[in-house]
Symmetry: C3
Subunit: 358 residues, 3 copies
């Protein structure tokens, strides 16, 4: 936010009540978090857990629900909505939509079909038969392969790659460095025996595709491999972070959130509304049912995860059991030698007792 | 597969015997797995472990060795070979070889040498002194650096990067987003003392290269770093999945399979016919000998792995020991407090016994 | 090193004393490590730990501090400095600085400002308002976004991506496939309840940037996400390896070394002179203080790390405790059933004793 706005004007923009009308001329020029804000910054108390930070914040004004003593406040009914609205405006200014049109240094094949207001940036490639819906953005240096379908309003960021025949729904975003549609990792040993690689491996041609729904986000440097026969599928409103690996023929259902560095092996099935947290992994063909949570680093290798279940650990087990195990393991360096010692003393005493009795 | 073929014609193509000649006119238009197939699909029983799926499959026909009751079958001597042959045909249609020639929007340096039938896609770069063997494909937006050598028939996919002086053998494939030949991670603290970073680090110039053999596959977003003095080496028929990290001066011998998210630290030595499974890691200078298996997530940090050995765990140990450990750990949350309780009771009883005796 | 140099000339170049002047005409044509060197190679004994390799080395000559019996030596006061000086010369020849100028097949927006001797390679993109300091190199197929600032002498390698508004200091290097400035992973469930994803997630617009200092190295396929409100910050002389994930609003202070596959969750704070070793991870908002060491695979999830502390394990704990735990766990498969058996025997004996007494 490079402009400066007086608080009175900001109050009007946000539909807010300025608690101290004498501050109407004070200028703010930046949005900052409560604890990092300094004079000239605007901050938001959008979650009550940050209330202590609000009291001591150096921000010139705080957008909040109820007045905070000693602070200049802009009162609104829903601070989170107000924050999102303002951030969207600032974001729109900082990251303006590119002008429609194909850049003269882009390559778009003659047989590609472009909807209205599509933009294709410099050094981007759109191959034969690709279909780009209205308002799609293919940014500079991005690659869109043969017969790829992009729904209206989707964005392919610089240096992202969408290989042949893959489909992306509407308003979805593919970030820089992501690779959609690499062949699935399907090989069989020439020998026919899984343990014998001495003659090398034969590639099983992967003829499936990747089908991504609408309002999906695919993070940077994330791979979504094409299916062997059928499609790899990611449903609507799925949010995928960066450096995630989604192997061939996985299915992820609506609304699921996949955090950074997660790995899904071939054919993993992830239900709706699931959280797969940082660096968790799901083994080949495993199922994680609706509403489940895989905690950070959980390795779901040997057992499926039931609806709503929370798992943790390597290998994953119910979160409560894993937490108990962690507590025991933390104590083990002291507790294990101690217990052994106690058993040894018991043995000695009992032996001594035996001798006494003889 | 967008065409429709009658079973009689497919039988001829595959050299198969149609078990129910009355079905010769039935059309199939897609290849699917036994469990996912529906009417109009063709499925293959290429491994006997899927026999139960074959019995209940909804496919219009199944390619198999022996007739299956209640199913329309196309009998062949080797269903896996038949499947591969058909998949290759379908794959060839879906992913046709690009036309030979340099795209007008590519950049190929005048001093690069191109063999017969080489194709270079739009927005691709081939730098000075590069040598591309007959039939090489450098796809759109790929980068091939100075003096890089690509053997005949090799493919560099969109947005892949092969940096200066690296060598790739014949018929090898480098997938989108892979980076071959980044400098090895070689730094020494300015202070000269490994524990003292207070003056920053000096980069050790990395003058080695990367040498990749023939029939190798390098997955998407995989890095193979150049060697410090000598080459980092990957031998023939090595298969590397996506998001793998191969550090400077590693050596991987023939036929080895490296699954997704594996990490090899500097100077790791991997023998022939080895499996490094999902997210396993090999520490600096460690050796994994011929035919060994590193299970999912195994961290080979403190000990080399012997020929044919299977290891698991963090840190890695022989697989049987690790499996026993896992069983014990799963029981520990209940078993550990219970054992402590039993020891305490023994101590009490013994103390009581002592008192009785006094 | 493709040239051949006689040892006498090399001695002059390095300011070294040749121990056997009769060898002045012997040619060397390559630098190699002591153990891999063969006739015609030059090797360096730059760390005394390699002294045994020096004695048996097949190198034509060894650069070292003190003469080695049976070897032709080039004596210098500081072999490491001599090695670095020679490697830099060889490196400069193998990887020459590109000629200044904008390649005709690059796209540089008219409003971008380029300092003296800047080079922009083929198929590279430099967007509006970008400022490139003197001597910057934007290599082929790299992307530099709107209003990006690159300090003098910085290098952006092929297929690297620096998105809008990010700042990089002087002499810093961004390797191929790295992505700087992807939006931070900031989402809130539409439902307002963290456990309820059934209505999908709302993206929180990320309006912060990324600020990278001088003499920094960012490895291949590493992501540095932009901050939510404030910048994600990486200070001077920080060295980051490949496939590292640095989430929004992390701060890394001077000189810290971040090895391959490390993951920093949102808002992690890393002090000065820290080592984060291979695949270690730091949880959301966690602090790792100055001079600390996170060992390979350490997961810093539940506790901050104090100044100079060394941690290990999953979850991380002080390294000594984790090492003791590892020793115990290695023994557990044998020791646990054995201890249980001993307790059982004690119980039996005590019961028998009780009976005897009755």
């Amino acid at each position: 936010m490079s402009m400066q706005l007086p608080l009175a004007q900001l109050a009007m923009l946000l539909g807010a009540k300025l608690t101290d009308p004498s501050k109407g001329e004070v200028l703010v020029g930046n949005v900052a978090s409560l604890d990092a804000a300094k004079e000239g910054d605007l901050a938001f108390l959008w979650d009550e857990k940050f209330a202590p930070d609000a009291e001591t914040s150096q921000a010139s004004a705080i957008v909040c629900k109820d007045a905070i003593e000693g602070q200049t406040c802009l009162l609104v009914a829903d601070p989170q909505q107000a924050m999102l609205a303002l951030l969207r405006q600032v974001h729109g200014m900082r990251f303006p939509t590119p002008r429609p049109g194909v850049h003269p240094q882009a390559f778009v094949d003659d047989t590609a079909e472009l909807g209205a207001d599509v933009s294709v940036g410099p050094n981007a490639t759109v191959e034969a038969g690709a279909k780009l819906g209205d308002g799609c953005q293919v940014r500079a240096n991005a690659y869109v392969g043969r017969n790829v379908v992009l729904g209206a309003g989707s964005v392919v960021h610089p240096n992202a790659t969408i290989l042949d025949h893959c489909q992306v729904g509407e308003r979805s975003v593919v970030w820089s460095g992501a690779v959609i549609g690499k062949d699935g990792f399907g090989f069989v040993p020439v020998s026919g025996d899984r343990r014998d690689l001495s003659q090398g491996s034969i590639r099983i041609p992967q003829i499936g595709g990747v089908k991504i729904g609408s309002d999906v986000e695919i993070g940077s440097l994330t791979t979504v491999d094409r299916g062997a026969l059928e499609n790899t599928e990611i449903a609507d409103r799925v949010i995928v972070d960066s450096q995630v690996h989604i192997a061939h023929n996985c299915k992820i259902e609506d609304n699921t959130v996949v955090v950074g560095r997660v790995a899904l092996a071939g054919g993993a099935r992830i239900g709706k509304n699931v959280y797969l947290l940082q660096a968790s992994a799901v083994g080949q063909g495993r199922t994680v049912a609706d509403g489940a949570i895989a905690g950070s680093g959980a390795q779901i290798l040997y057992k499926d995860v039931a609806e709503g279940e929370e798992v943790l650990g390597w290998p994953a087990q119910p979160a409560m059991a894993e937490r108990r195990l962690q507590v025991i393991l933390t104590k083990l360096p002291k507790a294990w030698p101690e217990l052994r010692k106690r058993v040894k003393q018991l043995e000695k005493k009992l032996a001594a007792l035996g001798k006494t009795e003889d």
